[in-house]
Every structure is written in C-alpha cells, then in structure tokens.
C-alpha cells in the first residue's frame, strides 16, 4: 500500500499534504498545551491561615440582606403557590417577580380607554405576602394593548399610557383604598440592556431614561398610597453609565438595582467599591439603597445549581458582602421552571412536577444566620477558603467556606483564636448539611488553635464558648 502511494503520489503533493496535516493539528496541539498549563496553574494559590482576634469587635453582622429572592417567569401562573410553605421557611424579606403585565393580562383596551384587571397578578402577590415577604414588582413588560406593534419589548405608542399603567399598578397595590400594602418595591423593567428584553439604551431612540421618566411620572400621579419605592435600572450587570445616567436624570429614584451573575465571589465586593466611588460625587445619592435583584454564579441554566457548588458560592458571596455590601441580595431563583428534570434549573427548589425537592443552596441562608452577632476581625483568608467571625453573648463563631470553581480543592485550615481568657472551652463544629461535633478544651494561654478539614465546596461554622 505504501509503495503504491509513493508511486502514485508525487513528492511535491505528499509534502503539501503533510504540511496541511500539521497545520490542521497545530491548533489542537496548542490548545492542549494551553490547557495543560492551566491545569497546573490551578494547583497554585494561597492556603488559608485564619486568625481571629476575639477582642477586635467591628460592626454588627447583617443577616437580613440575603433573605431576598427573585422568581423568574418561566410559567405564566402563580409559580410560588405550590411551594409557599418552603418559601416561608426561608423567612423572606422581599420576593421579586417580573413579567407582571404580559403573564397576567393586566392591561386591556376598550375603545380609547385602557382597562385594568389585576386579578391574576393579585394571586401571585397574595402568595408573596402570605410568605411574610414584601413584593417587588418589576414593571415589565410593555402591555401589548399599548405597545408599538403589540411587542412586549417595544416602547408604547403613547408614553402617557405607560405612565397611566404604572400609576394604576401603584395605586392598586400600594393604594390605601385597594390592596393597601406598605413598602412595595417597583423596579422599572428587567434587564433593559438585553436583546431579549428590548436592547434599551441609556439614551437615544430607545431610551431607558424615557421609559423610567414616564414610570416616575406615573408614580408621582399615584394618589392615596402607602410608602412605596421606585428604582432601576435592573441591568444585566453593574454599569457606571447606567447608574450615573439614572442618578442625574432628575427623576425619582428610591433605589439602584442591577443583576450579578459572577463566578468569582470577590467581584461582588469589588462591584460595591466601584459603585460607591461612582456615587460619592452625588451626595444626595451616596446613601441610596442598593439592590442586586438577581444573583448567581451564571445566568445560564446549569446543573451546578443543584449541587453544593451553588451553596458554597452563595456563602462565599455573602462573606464578600458582609461589610459594605448592598442593602439586599436577591438569589435567583426560588423555583425551577417546568421540564427541568435533568437538574439544570436555577431554582432553590425543583418544580412540583419534579418532586418539589429542596437543593443544597436552599438551606444555606438559614445556616448563615447562625453567624448573627458583632463582627470580629478575621485575617488570613486564602485563595479558596474565606470566612468571617462574630461574637454573640460570649460565643465566638467562625464561618469558613471553601469555594473552588473547579471543584477539587481540599484544604486543612489552621484557625487561631487570639486574646482569649484562660479556661475551659466548648468547641462545636457544624458542617453545612453534614456532621456536627462537640469537644472541650482547656486553654491556658491567650489563644486556641484548631485545624479544620475542608473538602471542596464545604461550609463550616466553629462555635467556641467559655465555660463560666
């Protein structure tokens, strides 16, 4: 065969073929080399060596800010009704829903007049209120009865009609003579910058500021209402141009909002620092409430939402935002949509058609509440292991989370508590969704040292109490 080929194929041709084959496989070889280097690089990083100064007290630990949740509109029904009990157990402060106009047929038209029917939306809002939470209603999307071309993502034919829709919505839920709910949040649109939701821009032909302005006009016209809050821009990320445009627009802005789907928890903290630096030149907005109205590690459906990965990521994000963080962090989302039996849904709970099962991330919020108290100074965090410490009524608590995006890093973490008084201490170690152990130890000096084994994506709380 080889001799036959040599005879039939000219040397020049065979050279060209050889060269072509090499060039074809070159990218694969380079990619393989690159991946090898990346794999080796993942092995580097800094191990944690945690030191907690038990006398260095800081500010109170906030525990309410992460008890807020978003629910997307994968169904047009009241998605939360089947899981109301499970949602109540999360002790939610605010629950956010969007698609309030298009999924619930709120706005109609009779001749030249707009008609309003909130009965379907009321069912969803009633469910939210029954869980103990306040509703956040995302003013979305454009009711077909008033939209250009009847499209949900287009501006209205008449901007005054959009203002009227917003006015009627606020009067219905916040109005003292109607639903009479106090403290409702109204967010103008959802992810306006996304093509799926209209590709609105800060200015120009399809201006979000114009959309917001007429919403604020509607809010101003709403009468006989309880306290309510209007804000935005609910963009896919935190963007300076959108934030500064909104705060300088001259409209009523009661809160600023954006979405964060970031795998690196530390970016959440950096976003907060950036935001404050943008707001400092605007003193009247520096203290404005800030809300991350959708948060997760990816905006795509991902099976990791059903694993400890999501729980560890949430704990790591809370750690990054425990001081100087937003007013509220809304985890997306409470319940899977239908047909996600392969486990790639965003939800904390699977759809009732898939067993209505809670996923690991569901339990992390109440677990983190165990850290309530006054924050203590903690140093020595590593690349993967991070944490925070607190003291409450004499019990010192240290929370550690080992979050590894690649899912393989295990670490034995040394923890030293300094400035202790000598005595007998009870040490309780509580692993998230895992084992609890309790030991006693006599401390003769001013410090206590422990070693904690932390598998990848593990979360643990160490509680240390001195016997009287």
């Amino acid at each position: 065969m080889e001799n036959y080929l040599i005879k039939q194929v000219s040397p020049r041709t065979s050279s060209l073929v050889s060269l072509a084959a090499l060039l074809l496989f070159l990218p694969f070889l380079l990619f393989g080399a690159y991946q090898t280097v990346i794999l080796v690089s993942r092995a580097t990083g800094k191990s944690a060596n945690i030191i907690v100064d038990t006398k260095a007290t800081l500010e109170p630990i906030p525990t309410a800010f992460y008890h807020t949740f978003s629910q997307g509109g994968e169904e047009s029904t009241d998605m939360l009704a089947p899981i109301a009990g499970e949602v109540s157990a999360l002790r939610p402060k605010i629950i956010r829903i969007d698609h309030i106009y298009d999924h619930h047929n709120v706005v109609g038209r009779s001749g030249d007049q707009l008609t309003f029917d909130f009965s379907s939306l009321d069912r969803s809002v009633n469910t939210i209120l029954a869980t103990g939470a306040k509703p956040m209603l995302v003013l979305s999307f454009m009711p077909p009865a008033i939209a250009q071309g009847g499209s949900l993502i287009n501006p209205p034919n008449n901007w005054d009609e959009w203002a009227l829709v917003v006015q009627k919505t606020i009067e219905h839920y916040s109005g003292r003579s109607e639903k009479n709910v106090s403290g409702v949040y109204y967010e103008v649109w959802n992810e306006p910058d996304l093509a799926q939701f209209g590709s609105w821009k800060v200015g120009g032909e399809k201006s979000y500021l114009q959309l917001y302005r007429y919403a604020s006009v509607g809010a101003r016209r709403a009468s006989n209402t309880n306290t309510f809050y209007l804000g935005g821009p609910a963009t896919t990320g935190l963007y300076k141009s959108w934030i500064t445009a909104l705060v300088t627009s001259g409209n009523r802005v009661d809160f600023l909002s954006w979405h964060s789907y970031l795998e690196d928890p530390r970016r959440f903290e950096q976003d907060q620092r950036n935001l404050i630096s943008w707001l400092l030149p605007f003193p009247q907005f520096t203290l404005i409430p800030t809300l991350i109205t959708e948060a997760g590690f990816t905006g795509n459906k991902d099976k990791r939402y059903g694993t400890m990965f999501a729980a560890a990521h949430t704990a790591a994000v809370v750690r990054q935002l425990i001081s100087g963080g937003p007013d509220y962090l809304f985890s997306f989302q409470l319940k899977d949509g239908p047909g996600q039996e392969d486990g790639n849904g965003w939800g904390l709970i699977t759809h009732e058609g898939n067993g209505k099962r809670t996923k690991p991330r569901y339990s992390v919020y109440n677990f983190l509440d165990g850290m309530a108290g006054t924050r203590l100074n903690l140093t020595g965090e590593g690349t993967w292991v991070m944490g925070y410490a607190s003291v409450l009524e004499g019990t010192i608590k240290v929370l550690l989370v080992n979050f590894d995006p690649y899912g393989s890093h295990t670490e034995t973490v040394p923890i030293t508590l300094t400035n202790l008084s000598p005595g007998t201490y009870t040490i309780r170690q509580r692993y998230f969704l895992g084992q609890n152990t309790s030991t006693q130890e006599i401390v003769t000096s001013d410090r206590l040292k422990k070693q904690i084994l932390m598998p990848a994506q593990s979360i643990v709380i160490l509680e240390v109490t001195r016997a009287p």
Binding site: T36, P283, L287, T444, D446
Partner: protein, 328 residues
Amino acid sequence: MKKLLLMVSILVVMVAIPVTIYLVSQRQELRKKAAPATTLAFSPASTAKAVGSEFSMEVHINTGDNQVIATELHIAFDPEKLEAITLTNGALFPNVLTSGLVEAGTASITVGAPSNAQPVHGQGTVAVVRFKALAPTSTPITVSFASTTLVSGLGEGSTNVLTGTTPGKITITGASTDRTGPAATPSASLSLNDEIDASLSAEASASAVLDITTPTASSAAQRDRPTIKGKAAPGSKVTLTIYSTPSTVIVTADANGNWVYTPQTPLEPGPHTIVATAGDGSDTATESFVVATDSGVPVSGSAEPTILVITLALILISFGIVYGKLSY
C-alpha cells in the same frame, strides 16, 4: 412715539420681573450652600506607646457649616513602626459603605451618615483605627490623612468639603509595658507574631548563642510567608531584619531560648536575607533563603513560551518533511 415708548417700557418690565426673581433665587441658593469647612484630626493628637502594645486612635470630624453625607478615609503610616489591625466606623457614621481595608502602611474605609434626612453636622468620631506598635522610634512618627481622603456634603455637589487635616503623632518606646497576653506561660512568647507553635516550648535550648535555625541557604524554596525559627538567650529580645526590602521586627525568646516569627506581609519571590541581632547588640546571625511563588509551589511554566516552542518545533518539522519529500 409715545406708544412706542410705552410698549418698550412694558416689555422691559415684563422681562425684568422674571429676571429679577431668578437672580434673587440664585443668591438665596448661594447662601444655602456653605463653603467647604470640614476638618479631620486624630484623637489623641499625640501619644506614647510601648513596642508590642495595641492601641486605638479615633478619627474626629468637625463639619463646620457642612451637612456631611459620607467620608472616604485614607490613612497613611510607617509600616515598619506601626501595623493597622482594624479600621471600623465611628458612632457618627453608622453606615459602612465600603468595608475597612488595612494593608502595610495604609488603611481605608468609606462611611456614611444615617440618612439624607440625618446628615452629620457638628463634631464626633468618623472611624476608629486600631494599631500595633512594631518598633521603637527615635522621634515621633505621624499618622496622616492621604490626599485622596474625601468628605461629601449635601448641597455641595461633587466638591470635597474637607479643608484641613491634622495628623496624629506617636512615640514608640523600646520596652513593652502593655502586654496583652500572660507573661508567665511556658509557650513561646512573641511580641509581634500571631503564629505561635506551642510545640517549640518543649524543646530545650542547649545553648544561649544567637542562631537562626530555619530557613537556611540549603533549605528548599520557601513559601512567601516562611516560618523563621531560631535560638537566643531565654527571655532575651532579638531584632530581626529581613532583606531585600528591609523590614524589622523584634521577637522575644521563650524560657527555653526558642523564638519564631512569620512575616505578616508576603515576601516577594526571590532571594532574601535575615539578620538577627541580640537585644544588646553583642551578637548577630545571618541566613539567606529563597522565596518561590506566593504559594511556595515552583513556577510550572507559563503558556506562552510553551506554545512558542511547540510552534517552532512544528515549523522545523514541517520544513524537514517538505525538504525531505522534495529531495526524494
């Protein structure tokens, strides 16, 4: 002509009234907006502390006529003399807008007033910084406000209403009289290191001669915060200076003559030298060591050189094949 004059007069009056109203309102706005008048100072203004002691300094604000909404604080100090342990908000500013960040030589935090309806007006504490005295000073050192410190006030726009700052002065004396831990414990007693290895207390020192036992020149590449151990006369003070960028700390040998220190700040990769000096200056010991990457793992190789070598190799192979085939 008379009619024309009358019309002109009416026109002038019609224009003058709104213009006058506008000008008056502008002057009123100017009266509401106060000139920047806020000052910051440390309290106490000056203090003396012993090496190894921990102490707090408050940052005080006097807002003058300003209605202060937020303060972005940047503090600078000598990292060889002082270590900032924590920086937290004061009572006057309950909102922590960005959490306190302490690093070698700097500390920063941004704090906010209770609300826009309750801006800060008057005097009080903005923040509290907790320091540790690292080394004695021959003259008082200053803790100052960096030029990036900013105070914002309602009605002032983006203007920094901070008009003046007063640094604090600290004198650090050589002997520590402010130990926080028990002095009689048998474990290694360190004035500057938070990492005590209790097992060291079990080793009896055979000699009171000053020595650095680890790391040494023959040691493997170290992590960026290597554990430095040595021996000295029991209870004596040893001054450690670590080069390349010199940093100096003082440790105390325990009852068995052992001392240990781990740098708080990671060392840069590369060669370093430790010089240990006995407290009375009568003896010194020197050792050199190498710090590998910040994780202590040797560099595995970056992607770019690898890719370049592979590409060159493939080009050579290609030429070889082509040349060989052509020759054949």
